[in-house]
């Protein structure tokens, strides 16, 4: 399962991601974040490796594909945060595959600190969060 997930290069720059926009405008990530409307919080815990999505794809791959499409149609509007037992901001638009547990509370706390002026945040999660 890990082999399938390794096809996703965390260094890849998704078209329309905050890093892509920052690079094209020659500005910092903090400046590109000014135009973001939404934070998408993506579960990248071990359970997301399950290949039980349509077409035998892993849940993680489906999430990455959908996020890439979303950022492409809404360039510079989506901030991506990946979480499992830790939380990582992914400005390149690809939620970093971490594996491990599910610290949803930590992810929401992290996202709250970054949510000023945003209209919404969305959580993509398929498992039960770890108990506090």
């Amino acid at each position: 399962m890990r082999g399938a997930l390794s096809k996703f290069d965390p260094n890849q720059l998704v078209k329309g991601s905050l890093a892509d926009i920052a690079k094209s405008r020659g500005e910092t990530l903090a400046e590109s974040f000014l135009d973001a409307d939404c934070i998408v919080i993506v579960d990248v815990s071990g359970s997301m490796e399950s290949e039980d999505a349509a077409g035998g794809k892993s849940r993680y791959k489906v999430a990455c594909d959908e996020l890439a499409a979303l950022q492409s149609t809404m360039p510079g509007k989506i901030a991506v945060i990946a979480f499992s037992h830790e939380v990582i901001f992914c400005p390149n638009g690809v939620p970093l595959n971490i594996g491990g547990g599910t610290n949803l509370a930590g992810a929401l706390t992290f996202a709250k600190a970054a949510s000023f002026g945003l209209s919404s945040s969305v959580t993509a999660n398929r498992t039960t969060p770890n108990p506090p």
Binding site: A30, L34, I88, G117
Partner: protein, 199 residues
């Protein structure tokens, strides 16, 4: 021996790497390059992170700390706008510098500041080696937002030059008529160009 000295710096150059490996900006004072300010001292004074891979911020563009209040931001903006206004400053990139200053003030003086600060929080959460933006230094070395002033700082004397490692105070230079000095150095000329303007 560490001393505290005050210099009337008529022009401050870029912080470059010198032959001895130090990174300093030479200041023209008392008719010679008699003071050198370390890049670290300039970064500390103007709120610039010296960590590799970290970008300059809109705060460092205005030469203020991220904790600066609205009045301080406004005061710094007015000061820099005078120094870099294309009608007053004769340096080749004055217009782009002036636009950057205006852009920074527009964000930091309004409701977008909180969102920008949130973006800085996200940016800072990235590790240095993943890169968080463009480097603050260009290929010619770091240039401080201000290029002249009465600068007081701590340092030591090395030969004929005072090496300033900590800046304690930086105020504008005014003449007897209350006009402020705006200093710039045009490429190819042998000395800085000075203009006096009303603040």
């Amino acid at each position: 021996m560490t001393e505290i000295r005050l210099f009337e710096v008529r022009y401050l150059g870029r912080a470059k790497t010198r032959m001895d490996g130090s990174q300093t900006a030479y200041g023209w004072a008392r008719g010679s390059w008699s003071v050198a300010i370390t890049k670290a001292a300039l970064h500390a004074w103007f709120g610039v992170s010296s960590r590799p891979g970290e970008a300059g911020t809109l705060y460092s563009t205005l030469g203020v700390q991220p904790t600066a209040g609205a009045d301080e931001i406004k005061k710094s903006y007015r000061r820099l706008a005078k120094q870099w206004h294309p009608d007053l400053c004769r340096e080749a990139d004055a217009r782009s510098q002036f636009q950057a200053i205006q852009h920074a003030y527009e964000i930091l003086s309004g409701p977008k500041r909180a969102k920008y600060d949130a973006g800085l929080t996200l940016q800072a959460s990235l590790t240095a080696n993943r890169g968080a933006g463009a480097a603050i230094d260009d290929e010619y070395g770091y240039r401080a937002p201000l290029r002249c002033g009465h600068i007081m700082g701590k340092g030591t004397r090395q030969g004929s030059r005072f090496i300033m490692t900590e800046i304690l105070q930086w105020t504008d230079i005014f003449d007897a008529r209350g006009q402020m000095l705006v200093s710039s150095w045009i490429y190819g000329e042998d000395k800085p160009s000075e203009r006096w303007v009303m603040p």
